[in-house]
């Protein structure tokens, strides 16, 4: 009887606590929280790059830009580089060897060495140059579901190299409610053509996305006389004065990517192959110096929910990279080849713990193992016959790191983030082999790079919500960039050189987001970057001989401000206007008054779109880059600029997109880039000053017409 009473009492208690119980106070807080969100936030559109976990943009302790598939389609960008140069704070250069990204007033002569680029969370790093070259990252725009750009040092989460941030490109977002298959074909200026196919599906617990594309362009046809200071020099380089780049800048790209999930497992495989022509050091004579890259990544991931408050994610990725060059310069019979490559794997383990609703803890460890790194050069005309630079037998480049970050909600208005990473690359032995082992005339020289020091990289951030519509982010972060295999090759020539240390950056930033109304948003960032131990080629005296080697001699400071205003006066009309002011100063003694190369002071961006109806949109993009100086070579005597300062330029693009043609999923897209046919010049680099001291010329007006079908 007593038991029965007890049962009834407890059951009654259960009824008193129904499932939707909440205190009035919590109720109001939640209402305030959700009623200040916009449509995308309410639909829970979140980004994962900033903290390797899903977070809402306003809650992220970093300055973030999100580019969605809808945006890419509306603005009709032709290439990934075109998307990147329309992201506030970023700009692109092209020296006819490689495209490179400048960011926040800083540009490195090694292509994309200061920002990490990932595809589906996998870093696409070239392990020889520690760079993220666009030649390897040829993701077709049609495959991109979303790009998350986190600006600012992100080394705590992503390790060395995330100097100025992270660009994470997603091509594997499966949504069964959307069209899952797509085919499209494009033609455009410079004999450009592109084919793209995408298919996605779901069978029980297995779902997959496949993207494949082929791209070809004949490239620019530009007279060298417009780029070189004195055309009279061209005959000395084996060319006539009216020589052009016709047929010497061809490019082809193949991209395949297959991703999927099965229960707690995920996989992602990608293969890219590019053939590119260009010119390096000297202008091409015949068909152009050809560069071929092959890159393969295979990634397997596993997620496990450990409890209601913790989960584990792990990844193992195998990668292989090959690059070959066949040089064309100076005279018809010129012979020169280069082969390089590396393979390895990286493993990552991340643990996410939420011990209380106010506290998130993220911990992780990464292990990167790179071996078979080689760079074989044969250029007899430059006294380089069968030179092989490689890791010594049995050696590997190992980078190991651990990190932890906490996100703590101090109050409704205040959120605090602190994190730190410890990372080490102990060292490795390189060797130089000269000659041909098969005929027994080879010699071997070895040198060891050693830097056992564990690097400590901190990060701290405070997010303060003044009220529902005004959010301030106070950010500090450090990042490091380790010397690359190529930079350490100098040790083979002079083993006594001090080992290169990681480059460092400290960034202080205040980010203000104001949602002034449902139609008007403003984002303002003020930042200060302090860069130290930058690796430059510098003069060194060894045994009374003056030589140029890489050394940690660079020191720079940048301050700047970025402002973006977004306005949507009517549901069909959208404007976005951004401006960046940045001033970078070379802090080295004696260099304070030397204008920093490739560092424009002003950048401007414009986006506007109008939807005539759901299916037809017209949009324009614009980006302005102010004048830039060329490379300043401090190793010359006297130190000299390698080229002329180039004028600023404004690129206006327009795009017309018609969706659901004939009432089905067919679409038509016409993108015109550089509509005003403005002359674009990129300043001379150490790679091209012999033939482009006035700057290489960028694309003029060009178009790309795409027709496709989503089904």
């Amino acid at each position: 009887m007593k038991m029965k009473k007890l049962f009834i009492s407890v059951a009654f208690l259960a009824m008193l606590f129904p499932s939707n119980i909440y205190s009035q106070d919590q109720d109001i807080k939640k209402i305030k929280k959700y009623f200040k969100m916009d449509l995308q936030q309410l639909l829970n559109l979140v980004i994962t790059t900033a903290g390797k976990k899903k977070e809402k943009i306003s809650d992220i302790p970093a300055s973030v830009v999100l580019v969605t598939r809808e945006e890419i389609e509306t603005y009709g960008y032709q290439t990934l580089a075109e998307i990147v140069e329309n992201i506030p704070g970023l700009y692109i250069t092209d020296d006819y060897w490689s495209q490179n990204t400048g960011i926040r007033g800083f540009w490195d002569y090694t292509s994309n060495r200061n920002i990490i680029i990932l595809v589906n969370g996998i870093p696409l790093r070239n392990e020889l140059s520690s760079s993220y070259s666009f030649e390897n990252i040829v993701v077709p725009v049609e495959a991109i579901d979303r790009i998350e750009v986190v600006r600012g040092p992100m080394s705590v989460i992503y390790g060395n190299g995330a100097f100025f941030g992270v660009i994470n490109i997603f091509t594997n977002q499966f949504d069964e409610k959307e069209s899952v298959n797509q085919v499209s074909a494009s033609i455009g200026s410079e004999k450009t053509s592109k084919l793209f196919v995408r298919t996605a599906g779901k069978q029980g617990d297995f779902q997959y996305v496949f993207n494949g594309s082929y791209f070809y362009t004949y490239g620019l046809d530009v007279p060298l006389s417009k780029m070189v200071s004195s055309p009279a020099i061209l005959p000395y380089l084996g060319l006539s004065e009216d020589h052009t780049t016709e047929g010497q800048l061809e490019r082809s790209e193949k991209f395949f990517n297959f991703s999927g999930t099965f229960k707690a497992f995920s996989f992602d495989t990608s293969y890219t192959e590019t053939g590119k022509e260009g010119s390096v050091i000297f202008p091409s004579i015949a068909d152009g110096t050809s560069f071929v890259t092959k890159d393969m990544r295979i990634n397997v991931g596993y997620k496990k929910k450990l409890s209601n408050t913790s989960r584990l994610e792990s990844k193992v990725c195998y990668f292989m990279h090959r690059y070959s060059a066949d040089y064309d310069m100076l005279f018809e019979e010129f012979y020169g080849t280069q082969e390089e490559g590396a393979f390895g794997f990286r493993a990552a383990l991340n643990l996410f713990i939420t011990p209380s609703p106010k506290l998130d803890i993220t911990m992780g460890m990464d292990y990167i193992y790179v071996q078979d790194v080689f760079n074989d050069v044969t250029v007899p005309a430059f006294a380089r016959n069968l030179y092989h630079y490689r890791l010594a037998d049995g050696e590997a480049i190992i980078t190991q790191s651990i990190f932890a970050q906490i996100d703590y909600t101090l109050s409704d208005r205040l959120k605090f983030t602190a994190g730190a990473m410890l990372e080490q690359t102990p060292g490795y032995t390189l060797e130089e082999r000269i000659g041909d082992f098969t005929i027994g005339n080879a010699s071997i020289t070895q040198a060891t790079f050693s830097h056992p020091q564990v690097e400590f990289v901190p990060r701290i951030a405070l997010i303060y919500s003044l009220n529902d519509r005004n959010i301030f982010k106070f950010l500090y972060g450090k990042a490091i960039n380790r010397p690359s295999f190529f930079q350490n090759i100098d040790l083979l020539f002079t083993p006594d050189l001090p080992p290169l240390k990681p480059e460092t950056i400290h960034t202080f930033e205040i980010n203000y987001i104001a949602q002034l109304s449902s139609k008007f948003t403003m984002n303002l960032s003020v930042f200060r970057n302090i860069l130290d131990k930058l690796i430059y080629r510098s003069l060194y005296i060894v045994d009374d001989t003056v030589n140029a080697y890489h050394a940690n001699v660079g020191e720079m400071g940048t301050h700047g401000a970025e402002m973006t205003v977004i306005c949507s006066p009517s549901p069909n009309l959208y404007f976005e206007l951004s401006g960046t002011y940045q001033y970078t100063q070379d802090k080295r003694a004696g260099f304070e008054d030397i204008e920093v190369a490739y560092s424009p002071k002003f950048l401007g961006y414009l986006k506007a779109s109008y939807f005539f109806n759901k299916n037809i949109s017209l949009s324009v993009t614009g980006n302005y880059v102010s004048p830039m100086e060329s490379y300043y070579d401090a190793t010359l005597s006297p130190p000299t600029r390698l080229g002329e300062k180039v004028d600023g330029y404004f690129l206006l693009g327009a795009n017309l997109r018609i969706r659901k043609l004939f009432g089905i999923g067919m679409f038509l897209n016409l993108r015109v880039s550089n509509l005003l046919d403005e002359e674009v010049r990129y300043p001379a680099t150490a790679n091209n000053f012999q033939f482009a001291s006035k700057g290489t010329i960028g694309r003029g007006r060009s178009f790309l017409l795409t027709i496709g079908w989503k089904f």
């Binding site: 038991m3 007890l6 049962f7 407890v10 059951a11 208690l13 259960a14 009824m15 606590f17 129904p18 499932s19 939707n20 119980i21 909440y22 009035q24 109720d27 109001i28 939640k30 209402i31 929280k33 959700y34 009623f35 969100m37 916009d38 449509l39 995308q40 309410l42 639909l43 829970n44 559109l45 809808e70 949504d175 069964e176 409610k177 959307e178 449902s518 949507s568 009517s570 549901p571 069909n572 959208y574 939807f611 109806n613 759901k614 299916n615 949109s617 659901k660 009432g663």
Partner: protein, 186 residues
């Protein structure tokens, strides 16, 4: 011992019954806020009383109320107006009350086809934004149907019913929705 086990079991039952069963965090707070956002992206016909400032904007809920007191708490706040009008929440018990609504939320408890048909018979062709949360409702004539996909709230739009209602959605709204049928008039 048996007593202890029984008490323990009952306590577990009690606690379990108090746990929220939401499949997405704060689902109904989000849905309540979506009413306001949807309204910002939709134009009602010029002759609709939405444009009459003297009348409130009416949000109706038909079927078992899943919001608890969220709707009243949210829309009683001065800043949470819709179309710059005060919002009145009505729980519909009679079919004739439906016509006064500008938004009508059809809760999960309306799961019989006949019940739904009775509701749609009243709303069809009228500028009433019907919002469902039951699989297949968009296909049956509900204008907007909310569903959960991969931890996100998504929604589908019945294009034909929307056209007949004379409500005009913005392209931004359509760009994030799944469209059932064609938006173009036949």
């Amino acid at each position: 011992m048996r007593k202890c086990i029984t008490v323990l079991v009952l306590l577990v039952v009690t606690l379990l019954s108090a746990l929220p069963l939401f499949s997405i965090e704060d689902e109904y707070y989000r849905k309540a806020a979506l009413f306001k956002i949807f309204s910002q992206y939709i134009q009602w016909p010029k002759n609709s009383d939405v444009n009459d400032r003297s009348k409130p904007f009416v949000v109706g809920v038909i079927g078992k109320n899943p919001f608890g007191s969220i709707l009243e708490a949210a829309y009683s706040q001065e800043e949470n107006k819709i179309k710059d009008k005060k919002v009145e929440i009505r729980y519909i018990s009679k079919m004739e009350e439906i016509e006064s609504c500008h938004i009508l939320f059809i809760s999960k408890s309306i799961d019989k086809e006949q019940e739904l048909e009775e509701i749609l018979a009243v709303t069809r062709g009228k500028p009433i934004l019907t919002i469902g949360e039951t699989k297949g409702f968009a296909g049956k004539g509900v204008l907007f149907n909310l569903f959960i996909s991969r931890d996100e709230i998504r929604f589908e739009i019945n294009a034909q019913a929307l056209r007949e209602s004379r409500l005009i959605p913005s392209s931004q709204l359509l760009s994030v929705a799944k469209i059932v049928g064609s938006l173009e008039a036949p």
